[in-house]
């Protein structure tokens, strides 16, 4: 029989499920299916053990979902991880997205009688919906826009995919915050409801009260006057992120590194650019690794443009977009290891200077994304900017972002070090204030995600995970707004197919994973 495990960050294996035992057979074809929850924001390492033949296979990355046929055949290794001289056979893993995950719900939220948290005006409320994860913490899955100055806000409809909420019975945490431009949003109230509960609220046209959790001043939780209503609730079927990816869509990764002097001399131990000889990664390396190692699987040629900005290059002038690999002609490097190598060598060849300006890098990335549109519209670009500081010219960056906002491009900004990143919250446009350029043009959509490296979401969830969680949503928003369908849209109808299924469709035989400890 075969047992599937997921390899966790600490190296331990957690069983996902097992097939049935097939006796006396050297070419077993198992029937049992194992369900795995696909999460874009992490690399999910699957390990398969085949028992009774006393062999073991290591490390099958989640890359399986980007293969056209969703099947992968790998040679089995023995216990020690070596492919032995004796042919131990191969295991073929076939994956498919369960039809249910094309389900989505569109919900219209409204609140009444919210508490006022602002001094001279009314609260600027927005909702944040989070999913509770195994470790007990919660991961935000989406936010509404901010409604200014209103204690009875009505938000635009929010679309939640099954991918995001898991199952309709999963409890979701809905928090209502008062937006503050400093980033310290004040909690107005929270409550916990599942999608099924929200549907019921809509049907019964009832409201549910917000609660304030116990705090320093109060031992018990307080039920508030503010209520949440579900004015609209409809289910739809949407092409999922995996539908696009498996049909050939790609994510192209690009990276830009801050070479301004505020990072500190790279030779000094407390510089943000210090390369530790023991191999411990500095903040820049960590960010590149964590984002890159997820996205690289979605990029077919693994050639990544990489730039630096704010540094003084060999010709003595400060550049705000120089090739990290030091080459005069090409800005691409091979693989994540290529980015790391180019970064390390650039630290020797480029002098830290300043000021901190993103505009040129964003313009260059936008140009690449725009030109790619001439060939096909199945590439989506992700620009990672890692910076330690405060922007010198916020308007220049806004202008570049507004010009890029109609392109298949997302900009992920990671802030390292201890600076005050208030400006980045403005760029992240979470307050509902869409970015405005100096020419009066307004950003078509919010393409920026920002996260400060120091924010820790309760241990198990890495900082970067939170950043990447929103990427499939931004990708889908772009594709759906233009009605771009997966490449083989005719072959992948939204109605579940009954024929051509290699395994019998018998829901009762599905092996459900349990996430309980």
């Amino acid at each position: 029989m075969a047992v599937a495990y997921v390899k966790k960050r600490d190296g331990s294996l957690e069983e996902l499920g097992r097939t049935e035992v097939i006796m006396n057979c050297l070419d077993p074809a198992w029937i049992e299916k194992i369900n795995v929850a696909y999460q874009f924001e992490m690399v999910q390492l699957l390990v398969f053990h085949v028992y009774d033949v006393d062999t073991r296979y290591h490390n099958l990355p989640v890359k399986i979902v980007t293969r056209q046929s969703w099947s992968l055949t790998i040679k089995l290794h023995n216990k020690n991880g070596h492919a032995s001289l004796r042919n131990l056979g191969t295991i073929t893993v076939h994956a498919e997205e369960t039809i249910a995950s094309r389900n989505a719900v569109e919900i219209k939220f409204r609140c009444s009688h919210l508490d006022n948290k602002d001094l001279f005006s009314k609260s600027d409320p927005f909702l944040r919906i989070s999913r509770i994860v195994e470790s007990g913490g919660s991961v935000p899955i989406c936010k509404t826009e901010v409604v200014n100055n209103n204690l009875n806000p009505i938000w635009k409809p929010l679309t939640l995919t099954m991918q995001q909420f898991g199952s309709k019975d999963n409890p979701l945490i809905i928090e209502c915050f008062d937006f503050n431009s400093s980033g310290n949003h004040v909690l107005i109230g929270k409550l916990q409801k599942s999608v099924v509960d929200l549907e019921k609220l809509h049907k019964e046209k009832m409201g549910v009260n917000f609660i304030l959790p116990p705090s320093r001043h109060r031992a018990h939780e307080k039920v508030l006057k503010g209520q949440l209503f579900v004015d609209g609730f409809s289910e739809k079927k949407l092409y999922s992120f995996l539908d696009y990816i498996s049909s050939g869509f790609e994510l192209n990764f690009m990276a830009a590194v801050d070479f301004t002097a505020s990072n500190g001399n790279p030779r000094s131990r407390d510089s943000l650019h210090y390369i530790d000889p023991t191999g411990r990664l500095n903040a820049y390396q960590q960010a590149i690794m964590e984002v890159g190692e997820v996205i690289q699987f979605y990029d077919s040629d693994r050639r990544f443009p990489a730039w630096g900005f704010g540094g003084r290059t060999y010709d003595g002038s400060v550049s705000h977009c120089f090739n990290l690999n030091g080459s005069a002609s090409g800005f691409e490097v091979e693989g994540i290891e290529g980015i790391m190598a180019a970064y390390a060598s650039a630290l020797h060849n480029v002098a830290l200077a300043g000021p901190t300006l993103f505009g040129q890098v964003i313009n260059t990335a936008a140009e690449i994304a725009g030109r790619a549109l001439s060939c096909n519209n199945s590439k989506y670009f992700v620009l990672l900017i890692i910076t330690d500081g405060v922007l010198t010219d916020l308007q220049e960056t806004k202008d570049a972002l507004v010009r890029a906002s109609d392109l298949p491009l997302s900009v992920l900004i990671v802030g390292v070090g201890g600076a005050d990143f208030q400006q980045m919250e403005i760029l992240d446009a979470d307050n509902g204030q869409r970015l405005e350029s100096s020419t009066g043009r307004i950003a078509t959509r919010d393409i920026v995600q920002f996260v400060p490296m120091r924010e820790v979401h309760g241990g198990q969830i890495s900082i970067v995970q939170a950043l990447l969680e929103e990427l499939p949503g931004q990708f889908l928003m772009y594709m759906r707004s233009r009605d771009i369908k997966p490449l083989d849209a005719n072959a992948a109808p939204l109605v579940p197919p009954d024929q051509g299924h290699p395994y019998p469709i018998d829901k009762s035989s599905e092996y459900r994973i349990s996430h309980e400890a």
């Binding site: 096909n376 519209n377 109609d406 043009r441 307004i442 083989d488």
Partner: protein, 175 residues
């Protein structure tokens, strides 16, 4: 020589945060006017009860003469005391073509509206697309993503300016 013009498809989608006299939000009866110059203009239907967030979703096709550099969009409101211009914006033609976009790209654009005194007054959301004549051969143009051209890219990272003719081949994405 007669001036050439191209057909421009403008879909006026919606407006946001519109106010009259800088204080009172628009209550109803807002509509948009799209014009390329003083002679060519089109009007959308009126949104009767959209308040200060009217939705039109109306597609307008008009001729955009090549020498014109701006597309003007105005939002008007019918009030009991007559028709008032709530705000307007002049959109550069270059925003409708974009610097490195394919010719027939559908651009989703949004702009800040300014009233008669030049004060900010709301946002207008629209989409524009230049209609490309059917018989025009464009080596770089690919429709819908289903048929992909196997020829070389039109411009390689901005360095080459040669034109390459590709031959269309049915190309299923191969990993």
């Amino acid at each position: 020589m007669a001036t050439t013009s191209r057909a421009l498809e403008v879909t006026v989608i919606s407006g946001e945060g519109l106010r009259l006299n800088r204080r009172r939000p628009v209550k109803k009866n807002a509509f948009a006017v799209v014009r390329t110059n003083s002679r060519i203009s089109r009007t959308t239907k009126t949104d009767i009860d959209g308040r200060s967030y009217p939705t039109w979703n109306e597609k307008i096709v008009l001729e955009f003469p090549s020498h014109e550099r701006f597309l003007t969009v105005e939002v008007h409101c019918k009030t009991y005391s007559g028709e008032k211009v709530v705000g307007a914006v002049r959109i550069p033609a270059t925003d409708c073509t974009g610097e490195y976009f394919p010719d027939n790209y559908l651009h989703f654009l949004s702009y800040r509206l300014r009233d008669g005194k030049g004060e900010r007054n709301g946002i207008i959301n629209l989409s524009v697309r230049f209609k490309v004549p059917e018989n025009r051969v464009s080596p770089a143009m690919c429709g819908g993503g289903a048929v992909q051209w196997m020829g070389g890219p039109l411009a390689v990272e901005g360095f080459s300016s040669e034109v390459v003719i590709g031959v269309p081949v049915w190309h299923r994405y191969k990993y």
